[in-house]
Each structure stands twice: as C-alpha cells, then as structure tokens.
C-alpha cells in the first residue's frame, strides 16, 4: 500500500530526531553568568570581550561572538588574576543582522553598542534581552515592507510572536475574506502559517472528513461544513455554486452521487432524482445553474447532454443568446467536434 511506503521512513526519521532532541530537554537552558551591568558602569568597552562582533556579518545559532582576553590591562585593573571565564554560548537569533555593516555607521556615537543594546544579560538570565523593533525603525523606514508583509528579510520566523500587528490580526469575517488577502501575499501568510494549516481545508486529495468532524472540540471555530451539511449542501450550492467549485472538482460530487445512487444512470434502485416532467423544463434549469447538472453529468466532452443536443439531434441548439462560436473554432476545438461532427 502506498501509505505504508510513506509512513515507514517518516516514522524512522521521527524516531531518530526524537532521540536526539531529548538531550537538551533533559539539561534545560543554562542561565547566563556574566555580570554585564557592573562592567558597563565601570566603563569597560564592549569590544574588550566582544571583539569578533566587529567582523560578524550575520547572527548565528549559539554563537555570541565573545573572546575573553587572557591578558588585558583593562581586566587587570580590577581582577588579579583574570578569572578563567568560559562564556555561555547560548543564543537563538530571531532576526538577521549584520553587525559589521552597522557598527561603522555608529562611529562617533557616545557608546556605539548601547545605541541599540540598552539591556544586558546578568547572572541568572535565561532569555537574553534583545533590542526592540523600534530600535531598527528609528533609522530604517520599513513602511513599504510592513505594508506588503515583507517581514522575513529581517525576521527569521514570525511564529514566536503571539500578537501580530493590528493589520495582520484575523478578526471579524476573516474566514470569508482571507482568500482575498492571500491572492496578494501568500508569502506574508507563510511568515506565520505553514501550508499544512491550509491543507486542513484546502486539499484536492480529499481528507476523509471535514475539519468540523475531525475537530469537534473547536466549537467556536467557523467551519463551513459544520453540522448536517449533507441535508443542506444542495441549497448552499444553489445559492453560491461558484464557491463550491473553487474547492471541489465535479468529480468529487459525482463520486458521491454515484455511490449513493443519486446519479440515475448508476442507481441500482432505479430511482430518478429529477422531478416529474423534467424533460419539459430541464433546459431552463441547466441554463440557470449548470454546476448542479455537472454534479452528475460532467463527463468532459462526452456528456449525456450531447446525446440529444447535437447537430441533427432532437434537442436543438443548446447555446445561449450571446454565444458566437464560428465554424473555424469548431475545427480547432475538440469539445465542439463532439456535437458538430461536420464543420
């Protein structure tokens, strides 16, 4: 079975990663040790210890660009001997930043590092304080990027932010409007949401149940197909047929209708789903909502309809008033040739 082919390597890979991931969880994050405040107040320049930062063009995981000097007049002024200090190299950057590119622009400032870094780690600190975004926007005008949701040139991952800016909240009728936003900026959506979230509803490969059945505990969610959808689906399709067809190909409708015996040709009980005297008014119904017909009768070019509605057939011309097909188009379109056997 295809599914088994998929699951086995995934399970193996998952097991391997889980085993590796347990190590850090068992130890937990170690607090930082260095007392920055007293050193800053004593006038020790940051570069005495952080000299590598001058050449660093990107932030790296668990690299804090520190090099404690073994011999230093600045250190010896207070420490004798200089402590053998081993820094905690624990750092999870949330943004991309080029220190080497920025620091020359701060030359001449009273304290170039503290222009951005106003808070420091102290002994016991678990989460290192980082400059707030206003620090960046005090020099950079990011209105353009903000407007189009272009966050990831600087931000590595927005998933950790609990409250996005007002413009990106999903209040009110967001379920109805989210598609309109996504047309312009799926990259913006992808800053916080994976496609796995989209595929809970949008999937042509067909999940075995709608989200409202899979997640019955999410009672406040606005699931489209919640409750007794089967009984009312034809009404919803009649009110807004295009909204159905944006997600469901007619093959999806047809498979169920055939299985349930709604499609008369496949109905073992011989029931006809159409009302009485159907032949007399089926044309006007088809004209009004062809997608309801397509739920059973869309066999591509070889639909049941062309049995009668063909050149020389008993059904007459099916084309609506505005139709302007020409004989040359008949020759080039295989669908036309199904009825127009001779151009």
């Amino acid at each position: 079975m295809n599914t088994r082919l998929l699951i086995l390597p995934l399970a193996l890979a998952l097991f391997g990663c889980t085993s590796q991931a347990k190590k850090p969880e068992a130890q937990g994050p170690q607090p930082y040790k260095f007392p920055h405040g007293i050193h800053v107040e004593s006038g020790v320049a940051c570069v005495e210890c952080h000299a590598p930062i001058l050449k660093t063009t990107s932030l790296k995981e668990n690299v804090i660009d520190v090099a404690i000097p073994k011999k230093s007049e600045v250190c010896s002024a207070c420490h004798d001997p200089i402590p053998d200090y081993k820094p905690v190299q624990r750092f999870a950057p949330t943004v991309r930043f080029d220190h080497a590119g920025h620091l020359p622009r701060l030359k001449g400032a009273k304290d170039e590092c503290q222009a951005c870094h106003t808070k420091f780690t102290e002994p016991g600190t678990i989460e290192p304080p980082v400059p707030v975004m206003a620090t960046c926007t005090s020099c950079h005008n990011h209105a353009q990027d903000f407007a189009v949701g272009r966050c990831t040139p600087c931000h590595r991952d927005l998933r950790k932010y609990e409250k996005p800016a007002k413009e990106y909240t999903h209040e009110a009728n967001f379920l109805q409007t989210h598609g309109k936003w996504a047309k312009q900026s799926v990259t913006t959506c992808a800053s916080c949401h994976d496609q796995t979230m989209c595929s809970q509803c949008h999937t042509a490969t067909t999940r075995p149940m709608p989200p409202s059945v899979q997640f019955p505990e999410k009672v406040a969610a606005e699931f489209i197909h919640r409750g007794d959808w089967i009984s009312r689906h034809s009404m919803e399709a009649g009110a807004d047929p295009t909204s159905c067809s944006k997600c469901h190909g007619t093959g999806y409708c047809q498979s169920c209708h055939e299985f349930q015996g709604v499609a008369s040709a496949m109905n073992p009980l011989g029931r006809d789903p159409h009302p009485s005297n159907w032949l007399a008014f089926h044309g006007s119904v088809a004209r009004q909502n062809i997608l309801s017909c397509a739920g059973c009768h869309n066999q591509g070019a070889s639909s049941l309809c062309v049995t009668c509605h063909r050149v020389g057939g008993i059904g007459g011309s099916p084309h609506p008033p505005g139709f302007k097909g020409t004989t040359s188009q008949v020759g080039s379109n295989p669908t036309c040739k199904i009825c127009h056997t001779s151009p």
Binding site: C17, A182, S185, H202, R207, T335
Partner: protein, 454 residues
C-alpha cells in the same frame, strides 16, 4: 505512483536526519482517531469503524549553503476495523486508504528574497484558486516594489489515480498547469498584481484566465480590495464582457479596531466558467451570479464596556440572472437573501459561550438555522457542548427539520499529548436517529536540533 511516494518519503527522511549546520526546527502534529459512525447507503444505514492517522511534519530553518531549507509533509491513512467505510468515494473497495496532501521542499535564498519550492504543494497566489500542484514554484522579490511568482506542474488528484481525468476532485483538471503573478506595491497605499493561470488536459485547454488584484489603503482604517478574473477562453465564444469575466469582487473594509470592523462587498461570478473548459457543459449556460452584502463585527470592549462579548452580523443579497435560448433571447432574474447573526461571550479566559442564527432564502429552497455552543477548560480538562438545528422551507427527503447535538471531553496529558472523546447524535432528513462517537489522541510538539548547552 509508488515512485513519487518513495521519493517524497526519502526526501523527508534525509532532511530529518541530524542537521550539520545551525539549529533547525521540526514541528509534528499527529492525530490518531477512531471513529464509530453511521453511513447512509441507498436508504439504509451501515455502521463503520475506521481508524485514522493524520500526520503533519514541518521542518524549518535547515541551513544550507546560500540559504535555508524548509520541508512540509501532510498525509493521512485509514484502516477499516468493521464494514468497509466510504473513503470519500475513492478507493472504495479496500479496507485501507490514505492520501498525501503535501510533500514539498522549499529553499530560501538571497536573504529570503528568492524562494523555490518543489513537490506537492498548494498555490494560492493571484488567480491560482488554491491550486494543489505536483511541481515547482518560486517567489522572488525582483525590486523593492516588485515581486514575481510562478508555478508549473501537474494538478494534483486524489490517491494519485485521476490525472487528467474528469473524476479528479481537483477543480483544475489536466496534465499541465502554468501560472504566476507580477506584483507591484507602493508604500502602504497600493498593492496591485497581474496574474495568469493556464491548464491543459491532453493538449486541450481547461483554464485560460488573466486576473488583476488590488489593495488600496490610503488610510490605516480603510482597505479597498478588488479582484477580476477574465477568461480568455470565453472571450472566443461570448461577445459580452459579462460572459467573459469569470469571477470578480470588490470589498471595502473598515478595520477600526479588533473589536470593530465593517465590510461591504460586491461579487460577480459566471458559474459555468468554473468548469474545466474541456467540459461540454459550459456551452449550455448563460448564467451570472451577483452578491451584494455587508457585515460587521462589534465588540463591547470597543465601547469601554468591560464585557468580552462580540457580535457578528451580516447580510447578503443574491441575484441570479440567466438568459433563455437562442431564439427567444429572454432573460430572467431570481433573487435570494442570506442573513446571519452570531454572538460569542468569553466569561473567563478559559470559557466561551456562543449563539448564532442564520437564514438562507432562495425561491426554490431555503432554511432557518439556530445554534448554541459552549466550552470550558479547567485543570487541563476541556469540555464542550454544541446544539444545532435547521428548519427547511421545503422538505428534504420528506423531512423538514434537522437536529444535531454533540459533546466532547478532552484532557491535556502533557508533553504535547491530548486525548479527546466526542459523542454526536441527532435526527436529520437522512437519519431518523443516529449516534456516532470518536476517540482521538493528538500530539503536537516542536523540536529544536543542534542546540548546544554548556
């Protein structure tokens, strides 16, 4: 078919192996679920007991030379423990079923200015209509104000079984799909894009559409959203622009605050142009649908009233216009209405109570709907209740009402695990009475790799 699955699986396995570079992250969502439910078949009901596994894996921030790698896999599998269930109409005959919803790898380069995605993915940009695709796509920032998106591949089908086939559940059928969008953005005012979507099935066109989308926001409290999708194919066969525009809408949104928002919208569609263009059915129809409506979200907190009670209210007028046959050239218009009102109250941080009602009226059929729901979370236990009823204007299967109630009880076991049990019962036009249940175990966790603690 098997080859595709195998390649996707091996790619995922390789990427999940210990990373050699900086820390990467893996997010896992697993949902193992046992359902006991009725299924309706030809006038009688059958009890089925399927066991499902839904699995999503997302790997992020995998450092590679010149950029980062991301991968996502989303799949489900099911095995029948009783009578054979109906697997959404496909692969009905076996006890096993399953499908692969997503399996792609994405490289992010040039400081995230270029993204290239390969595999089974969903395309949502421009007029792609959330196309599920087996192929490749890219997103590129080509200038501070210009972006370019593109995609090419085969429209995905269920169970890998119906490529280029009318039995495809994908609204875009065919063996090749190509499209993209060129976007332009200027400050916070304008974001406009031009997109194209083409698809072919055995050389015959099934989609040929060009579209324009627009966001105009001269002030922070107002957005104008516009979209128009034009069918090149219909242009060859219909003279009027109204028959060539497949889909269009215009929305005016006033996001005053998260507690106060107003929206007015107009939508225009030609349902026949939602069909693949190799379907003969589209030449039978000359029907347009138009929708004019407004909606609002009003939260009492906006008015400094310290009660977390929100109201959503909306109305939509439905216009259906259709023309007669070639000789009479008559036209007719039908109208309908849709109303809804929803109130949700959060008496505590861990509790929600809500009620909603709606009305759909169409000349042929419609309904009234009412619903009440609530959820409460205490000591890691979450309980919910949900009741919903429909009253149909015309009987469905000779029955005019549908009543459903459900209750769930869940418990957070910890370490990312949770168990949920649910019971649902009711009486509907297709079940004089029924009771179904499910039990599921979910697991949701993130792992970080290569973190080094001293």
């Amino acid at each position: 078919m098997r080859l595709r699955l195998g390649i996707a699986s091996l790619a995922a396995a390789a990427l999940l192996a210990p990373a050699s570079g900086q820390a990467s992250e893996l997010e896992v969502f697993s949902n193992t679920q046992l359902n006991v439910q009725n299924q309706w078949r030809d006038g009688s009901t059958t009890t089925v007991v399927p066991l499902y596994e839904f699995l999503s894996l997302s790997g992020r921030n995998i450092e590679i030379p010149g950029g980062q790698l991301l991968f996502q896999v989303d799949a489900w599998g099911g095995v029948n423990l009783g009578k054979n269930p109906w697997w959404n109409g496909y692969s009905n005959t076996g006890s096993w079923s399953g499908d692969l919803n997503l399996a792609y790898v994405q490289g992010r380069f040039l400081n995230n200015q270029l993204r290239v995605t390969l595999g089974r993915q969903t395309i949502g940009i421009g007029n792609s209509r959330m196309l599920q695709l087996d192929g490749g796509s890219f997103q590129a920032v080509i200038h501070k104000m210009f972006t370019l998106d593109g995609y090419v591949g085969v429209p995905t089908t269920q169970r890998f079984t119906a490529y280029g086939n009318v039995y495809s559940a994908n609204p875009t059928i065919g063996d090749l799909a190509v499209g993209g969008r060129l976007g332009f953005a200027w400050t916070t005012w304008v974001n406009v894009g031009f997109s194209a979507a083409f698809a072919w099935d055995q050389g015959q066109s099934t989609r040929e559409n060009l579209a324009i989308d627009l966001k105009f926001s001269p002030v922070s409290w107002m957005y104008l959203l516009g979209y128009a999708d034009w069918s090149l194919f219909a242009n060859e066969y219909y003279g009027s622009l109204g028959s060539q525009i497949a889909d269009a809408n215009l929305s005016l949104v006033f996001p005053v605050s998260p507690f106060l928002q107003f929206t007015a919208e107009y939508t225009y569609t030609v349902p026949a142009l939602a069909l693949p263009y190799n379907s003969v059915l589209w030449v039978f129809s000359d029907n347009t649908r138009q929708y004019l409506g407004a909606s609002a979200r009003v939260g009492l907190e906006y008015f400094k009233i310290n009660v977390p009670l929100d109201f959503d209210v909306g109305y939509r007028r439905i216009f259906g216009v259709w023309n007669g046959d070639e000789t009479t050239n008559t036209s007719s218009t039908t109208t309908g209405d849709r109303y809804y009102l929803r109130a949700s109250w959060r008496p505590t941080k861990n509790a929600t109570v809500g009620a909603e009602g709606s009305r759909l009226f169409m000349p042929a059929q419609g309904y009234w709907q009412a619903r009440a729901f609530g959820s409460l979370r205490m000591y890691g236990i979450t309980g919910t209740l949900d009741f919903q009823g429909y009253w149909f204007d015309q009987p469905v299967n000779a029955i005019s009402t549908s009543m459903i109630g459900s209750a769930t009880l869940g418990y957070d076991v910890g370490s990312g695990f949770a168990v949920v049990g649910a019971l649902q019962g009711g009486a509907t036009p297709y079940y004089s009475s029924y009771l179904s249940g499910l039990v599921k175990l979910t697991y949701n966790a993130s792992y970080r790799f290569r973190e080094v603690y001293e």
